[in-house]
Amino acid sequence: MFKAKKETSDGKLALILLLPSALLILLLIGYPMLSNFYISFFQQSINPNLPSEFIGFENFSETLGDAEFYKSLGITLLYTLLVVAGSTALGLYVAILFNRPFKFRKLARSLIILSYVTPSISLIFAWKYMFNNGYGIINYIGRDILHIFDRAPLWFDNPTSSFILVVLFAIWRYFPYAFIAFLAILQTISPTLYEAAEMDGANIWQKFKAVTLPAIMPVMMTVITLRTIWMFYMFEDVYLLTNKVNVLGIYLYETAFAFNDLGKASAISVILFCIICTLIIVVRKRVNLNASS
């Protein structure tokens, strides 16, 4: 290896090349994150002309004593759990379906990832229209044709059906991410491994457990961890779809920009950050976050 020779000589060039990235990230990600901690000790409104007042841990005690916070936390955890489980399982299942040659495979693959590629705002309008209470096609099919329900669920007005709606939307939108990741790793598994397992008399489930699962485990851990983080922080999809599902992202957003309480919003940010940090520390040993893109 040539490395030892120029151990330090690259330092100056590296500094120059990295400087723009490092400065921007420090100024607009690092500093803001730290200033969250600072702002969370103040009573502060959006208007910069109003004085801010140091109030110690009041924002934290207010948040942690707020029943709305726990309700929101519960909804977010359930939402995250259902979407992560649903999108990962569906993604894996579809990837296994695709892991064999068939006609139009390439085309089908492209069509499947369409929901993942299309901007949220476009998809939201289609869903809002499809699930409309009065003239939506879903209610029409469910009520008048298939008779699944007698009375149309008010998809955007009833908290429970709104919750089902945002979960379905997220699984539909994000399972292709898991699908792409799983398909890539499935294609690296040598067919001889399956042949060997078959010779030992393994059935489909045993083959899955003995060959597929160990091979895809690292990718699965990464997919689950990243999807968990992303769903836990979700704001846009839910906010755009309905105002009846108050996930933490929306709770935070509204505390800041609807209730004009920047200090409390910062305190919520700090709490959410600590929850995700704990998660990362727990899974850090087993997950390679590198594998994503």
Binding site: D10, L18, L24, V117
Partner: protein, 284 residues
């Protein structure tokens, strides 16, 4: 029953497979189908209580209407979105190339630590930073300017862009560089003559990633902008939701036109990756 694996058995299996695949595609594509059909329906037909799959009378009116600035502000939003997304992603990719090169090729102190710190970004989702960034942007006097969104989109995409490029650069053989250096190219020239051309597919896909993030952003646009002439597509279209401009056909036409640039860009980057190298250097 351990019956003999006959030919008809196999046929049946295959039929099941194709039926399942068709069903899967139907569910995946149904909202797109509805979007497309509604865009071609007349306004009255779109809100009929007995919805139909296909328009009784096809019309292109909505596609014409959204580009008419007198009745629908779509063009303004489109221009803003293009301006913000293109500028932000070009700058982000430009900066990231140098950063990623330093991290993947140069030896310096803290390299591993700096590299590891980029993975932390997964913990700092945009939503956590809205309060401090709102204060910073207001403090710089950039509130209600498109510059504010460009700057934030650069920073929001930069860490992932560096990580992605870093892994592409790792796939380029180091020998090529060594050879070029013997031929007298310095490090900076190596970046321009060796690294950038060889990882072109990777650079395009990183650009597409950045573009998509900026194109999709609703969160920051919704807190940085107050006047509608600055709105990008997501905030702009969302703001029309409860106004008289809200005609389903128009919104669906607007949704389709909004999705097209991103879908095309994604398709280009996919085809480049597959055509260029065997593995394309995509990890995961």
């Amino acid at each position: 029953m351990p019956a003999v694996n006959t030919k008809s058995d196999k046929m049946l299996k295959r039929a099941f497979f194709y039926v399942g695949m068709a069903l899967l595609l139907f569910i995946c594509l149904f909202p797109f189908f509805i979007m497309l059909m509604t865009a071609f329906k007349s306004s009255e037909e779109a809100i009929a209580t007995n919805p139909t799959f296909f328009p009784e009378q096809w019309t292109l009116r909505h596609f014409v209407d959204i580009f008419n600035p007198d009745i629908f502000p779509y063009l303004t939003y489109l221009q803003n979105s293009l301006m913000v997304s293109l500028t932000a992603s070009l700058i982000s990719v430009g900066i990231a190339i140098f950063g990623a090169y330093a991290l993947s090729r140069l030896n310096f102190r803290w390299r591993i630590q700096i590299n590891a710190s980029f993975y932390m970004v997964y913990m700092f989702s945009g939503i956590l930073l809205i309060v401090p960034l709102f204060k910073l942007i207001s403090g710089f006097g950039l509130y209600d300017t498109r510059t504010s969104l460009i700057i934030i989109m650069i920073v929001q995409t930069l860490p992932t862009a560096i990580l992605m490029l870093n892994s592409y650069f790792e796939t380029i053989p180091k020998d090529l560089e060594e050879a070029a250096k013997i031929d007298g190219l310095n490090r900076v020239k190596v970046i321009f003559y060796i690294i950038i051309p060889l990882s072109f597919a990777g650079i395009v896909s990183v650009f597409v990633y950045c573009f998509m993030v900026a194109w999709n952003d609703f969160l920051f646009a919704s807190i940085f902008f107050s006047s509608s002439e600055n709105f990008t597509l997501p905030v702009g279209l969302y703001s029309l939701f409860s106004t008289p401009d809200y005609v389903w056909g128009r919104m669906m036409a607007a949704s389709i036109v909004t999705a097209i640039p991103v879908v095309i860009l994604y398709a280009i980057s996919e085809s480049l990756i597959k055509g260029n190298t065997t593995d394309g250097g995509v990890k995961g």
